[in-house]
């Protein structure tokens, strides 16, 4: 009998109740994984339906009102139920204590509570689909959101509740990283994934409360007609946008920073090299967290804010691209002359480098005030954010998932199917979204149900891409789920990595370490120490 398995967190303690009332951060990470995979499925189905509708102009599958609801739900579910929690709540929860040699996070009960809050908020949000739907766009701009007859209040309440889940996770991680590190594990010996989670957590606690008050004010406007966003009552609809984007811009860095943390790990391990510019990458995460709060007005260049404010925000937006650029160059420098092995996690990391660079650069185009006047609310913006969110965060998430998969389940997935799927996803993604840059530059507006005939070829091409992309994810679900039950048994350190989570049994026991963890080398000491791959 495989005693490691029996003693692992997967099987100890036993029973459904032991999972639903667990305080084990690893189990909570898996509970979140199931949640966000469900959210990705629902959000993905909406995406495919939207793209199918856009295959041709006029009605293809549904009427315009339904279409408006579908793109709204796609956006809201993907952002609030999937991507914001994705990496921190699943991989972050699973790995953070292990990476710092701790037994658990600082507040295990708060951790479990954050999952229940996530589920509760998600239920509200999904309920609103049935209760009349929402067609305002995920941004809920006033005045339409205050007047629309859809289930705006239940959707915004759901998101309000989801926000607490995000805040609790961030609070927990900040205290954990400050207070629960192994003695001797100084800040500059932390894996860069931890730095990424730390910077993310700071944004989570600072920005999410503002989303909270924004949604509360929206609800008050709908119920009491409080009038602060209604010009007829002396209010200002642009003020709503200031409130909304003060959270939502830093939110996109909540989405990307953990992904960047993963990429630092993957590039180092699979180039078998010390990461280039450790401190620069660490500080750039903090810089991104800080500067991200200064640029929100670049979402409002054409909304009616003053020209002075627009100019200031445009300038500040150029600044926020710099730390991201520093990271990309440091990763490239790490690859240079490294002993690169092209395992699946590395394929995702390399995809990230290519796709995130495109996404990031097109973000700079949009940050240029004069250019944005032409591109705002076109498909160029849609392409940009899918390149950074999917080409960036999702690729990093998939890379991390595959990298740490054996640690979580004690088994390997099929490398052949994983590589095939990576190719499917890469091809499907680019076919879907690269074409949208052209659509947008040629003038195709976003969120439009109908369009001029001249846009049809590109739309059809994009929709075909979405089917390839969808197929890729279906194949991934199959081989990953198969591997949980029938995958080849994995050893302790199949990748020869040097971070602490690879020093304990695979899968780990509930208390993480069977003997007290010892800090023998730094996380990227490939040039000083030879670590062997142990894969039974």
């Amino acid at each position: 009998m495989d005693t490691t398995f029996e003693r692992s967190y997967l099987k100890t303690p036993k029973g459904l109740a032991s999972w639903l009332f667990t305080l084990d951060h690893k189990r909570i990470g898996l509970l979140y994984l199931f949640g966000i995979m469900g959210a990705f499925l629902i959000g993905g189905v909406f995406a495919l339906l939207v793209r199918l509708e856009l295959f041709g102009p006029d009605k293809t599958l549904m009427d315009a009102d339904t279409y408006n609801q579908f793109f709204t739900l796609h956006g809201a579910i993907m952002i609030f139920m999937f991507i914001i929690p994705s990496i921190p709540a699943t991989l972050g929860n699973f790995l953070l204590p292990q990476m710092i040699g701790a037994r658990d996070v600082a507040f295990p009960r708060l951790n479990l509570l954050s999952w229940y809050v996530y589920i509760f908020g998600s239920v509200f949000a999904v309920y609103s689909i049935a209760a009349g739907g929402v067609d305002t766009g995920w941004t809920f701009y006033t005045p339409y959101s205050t007047e629309s007859t859809g289930a705006v209040i239940s959707m915004t309440l759901g998101i309000f509740i989801l926000g607490f889940s995000s805040i609790f996770t961030g609070l927990n991680f900040i205290v954990t990283i400050h207070k629960m590190r192994l003695p001797g594990l100084t800040w500059y010996k932390l894996p860069l994934f931890v730095w990424g989670l730390y910077a993310t957590a700071i944004i989570q606690v600072l920005a999410t409360p503002v989303l909270g008050i924004t949604l509360l004010l929206l609800i008050m406007e709908r119920t009491f007609g409080i009038g602060i966003f209604d010009p007829a009552m002396g209010g200002d609809p642009v003020l709503y946008q200031h409130f909304f984007w003060f959270y939502s811009h830093p939110a996109v860095y909540i989405m990307i920073l953990p992904g960047m943390g993963i990429i630092s790990e993957l590039i180092a391990v699979f180039s078998h090299r010390r990461i280039f510019g450790y401190k620069a990458i660490a500080y750039s995460s903090l810089a991104i967290a800080f500067v991200s709060f200064l640029v929100w007005g670049h979402h409002m260049f054409t909304s009616g804010q003053s020209e002075l404010a627009a100019t200031i925000f445009s300038f500040l937006t150029f600044l926020v691209g710099i730390p991201s650029g520093i990271k990309v160059f440091n990763w490239l420098a790490t690859l240079y002359k490294g002993k690169i092995t092209l395992d699946t996690p590395m394929l995702y990391a390399l995809s990230f480098l290519f796709l995130f660079t495109i996404g990031g650069l097109t973000g700079v185009f949009l940050g240029a005030l004069a250019v944005d006047v032409h591109l705002h609310d076109t498909y160029f913006v849609v392409a940009h954010f899918h390149y950074v969110m999917m080409g960036g965060t999702v690729m990093a998430f998939l890379g991390g998932l595959h990298y740490w998969w054996s640690k979580m389940w004690g088994r390997h997935y099929s490398e052949r199917w994983a590589k095939i799927t990576c190719a499917l996803i890469f091809i499907g993604f680019n076919v879907t979204f690269f074409s949208q840059f052209f659509l947008g530059a040629k003038g195709m507006p976003r969120r439009y149900y109908n369009y001029l005939d001249q846009f049809q070829p590109l739309h059809a091409f994009s929709s075909v891409g979405s089917l390839i992309l969808g197929a890729g994810f279906v194949v991934m679900a199959v081989y990953l789920i198969f591997s949980i039950f029938k995958g080849r048994r994995a050893g302790t350190n199949p990748w020869g990595a040097m971070t602490l989570e690879w020093t304990n049994p695979t899968p780990p026991p509930p208390e993480n370490f069977t003997e007290p963890p010892r800090l023998e080398y730094g996380p990227y000491d490939y040039d000083r120490v030879a670590v062997e791959r142990t894969d039974t």
Binding site: H178, L206, D236, L294, L308
Partner: protein, 130 residues
């Protein structure tokens, strides 16, 4: 109840005097701020009021909440919160206070009788409708 841990942490106890002095100062400052509000200082009234409130808040934070004696990180957390709130207010005001500030069309409208239009374009642009 509980046995002392192997690492006993004796709390840092502030003298009663400190608490009473701070409470007294807060009450005095309350009276002051109410009194000053009756003195017409124009725009300065708001500044003085916020200034006194900030002084009171600082007393509560440093003494009642022990920030003066506690680990530095807690003070940093508090100051970070205030800083980002300031950023939120300031950058929003950059917009709301300068609306219509650079509106060239209203301040310096196109003159339909300007010579340049007559000479170079066949018909002057119609700026009278809408």
């Amino acid at each position: 109840m509980n046995k002392p841990a192997h690492h006993e942490s004796r709390p840092h106890v502030l003298p009663l005097r400190t608490y009473l002095l701070v409470a007294f100062a807060l009450l005095v400052l309350t009276v002051v701020t109410v009194a000053v509000s009756f003195v017409p200082l124009g725009g300065a009234n708001a500044l003085v009021a916020v200034g006194i409130a900030s002084l009171k808040a600082a007393l509560v934070a440093l003494f009642f909440m022990h920030l003066l004696y506690d680990k530095k990180i807690n003070l940093i957390i508090f100051l970070v919160a205030l800083s980002f709130l300031t950023v939120f207010i300031a950058l929003t005001m950059f917009d709301t206070l300068t609306r219509g500030g650079f509106d060239i069309i209203t301040r310096d409208p196109i003159d339909p009788d300007a010579v340049i239009y007559r000479d170079t374009i066949s018909a002057p642009p119609d700026t009278t409708t809408d």
